[in-house]
Amino acid sequence: MLGLGEDRLRADMNRLLALLFHQGVLDEQFLQLQQLQDESSPNFVSEVVNIYFHESEKLLMNLRTLLMDKEFSGYKKIGIHLNQMMGSSSSIGAKRLANVCVAFRTASQLNNRPGCLRALELLEHEYCYLKNKLHELFQLEQQRILAAGVRYPRQM
């Protein structure tokens, strides 16, 4: 029964990952991050992703502040924030987010404010979705580790 728990959790994780890949939310760079995780760095993926969340939330707040400014003219600053977000998103494999950044950047280069606002909303929406799904993934991972730990004594 306990063994089944761990296997089921692993299956759930795989299913979630497959879904995220299928939706284009994640790409193979995320798998690359997983490959970098081992006994010497057992929490690598969640560490990097948490740094990413922290930074992205700051960037999103800055973007919203910039766009909401009535005296708005700072497309250059927007471009800088977007480049940062694009870069870090692609570094963790958050493909869909990176793509939205590209569209956002195009709108900003055309000085298209309504387009920028729409892109920002989409970016925030995508970010929320990614964050929720990755949190779900990490929770499953934690549960799986616990389940594996409970089974271990039996094998001895």
Binding site: Q35, L36, V48, E55, G87, S91
Partner: protein, 248 residues
């Protein structure tokens, strides 16, 4: 001198006897490649640091070109000299950074008589030919399109280690044998870096197109199997200008 792996090991040991203080055995810690990584993004620093560590490199990660120069002791304002044990073997830097760009950092390093020998690799999320070109012209060793993968780091490290050993090789051994292997297996990660074994030379084996012979793919590698890493072949090859000059 044989060309088998065992033969290589034997000949290396003989060479290392004559070279002061240089233990060329792969297990030697003092021979670990020390990389200075420069990137303003915390996420990217974390990733590149891990990629390098897992590839058995020592890493120092800094967040700006300015800090990089300070670390090297090149910054005019604050000199942090005296890092005897922390010789930098490779610098890998992001291109787009606030303040000093990776390109400007590259130029500063190549202008320095002390540090111009250190290979510099540029990383960028933008795959722009003009950018790649200007970096190479300025003396960059290679140009990686982000996101950086393990295969990118392995390739660079293999080239590094090979030049490391070859640098010492030049001092006396069989240059004819080196010239025979015109190309290197930088990106053929299945074969371990071995100087004296015959290196696969067929460009068709390369998984990535060379910038010199084909238009770049989405993840271009400037140095592919047709761009030699061995210094003696670089003396004759057109890609010599891309390589750091090794002292004779």
């Amino acid at each position: 001198m044989t060309t088998t792996a065992n033969g290589v090991a034997a000949s290396w040991r003989r060479i290392s006897d004559t070279i002061d203080g240089f233990d060329l055995s792969p297990s030697s810690k003092s021979n670990e490649v020390h990389v200075l990584a420069v990137d303003d993004s915390f996420v990217d620093r974390k990733v590149i640091e891990r990629l390098l560590t897992i590839s058995s490199c020592k890493v120092t990660a800094v967040d700006s070109g300015r800090r990089a120069l300070q670390f090297l002791g090149l910054d005019e304002e604050e000199s942090t000299n005296g890092f005897d044990g922390l010789k930098v073997d490779l610098i890998i830097t992001d291109y787009c950074m606030p303040g000093m760009t990776g390109y400007e950092l590259l130029k500063k390093i190549k202008e320095s008589s002390t540090f111009r020998e250190i290979p510099v690799v540029i990383m960028s999320s933008e795959n722009v030919m003009a950018r790649i070109d200007s970096c190479l012209k300025e003396g960059a060793e290679d140009f990686i399109v982000k996101p950086v993968k393990l295969s990118d780091v392995k390739r660079i490290k293999d080239c590094m280690t090979r030049e490391f050993k070859l640098g010492n090789e030049e001092r006396g051994v069989n240059k004819r044998k080196l010239r025979e292997s015109e190309t290197c297996a930088c990106d053929l990660s299945s074969s371990p870096p071995s100087v004296m074994s015959s290196l696969p030379s067929s460009p068709s084996q390369s998984p990535q197109p060379s910038l010199l012979s084909a238009p770049p793919s989405p993840s271009p590698s400037v140095l592919s199997s047709s761009a030699p890493c061995s210094p003696s072949s670089s003396l004759d090859s057109p890609t010599r200008r891309l390589k750091m000059t090794l002292s004779d």
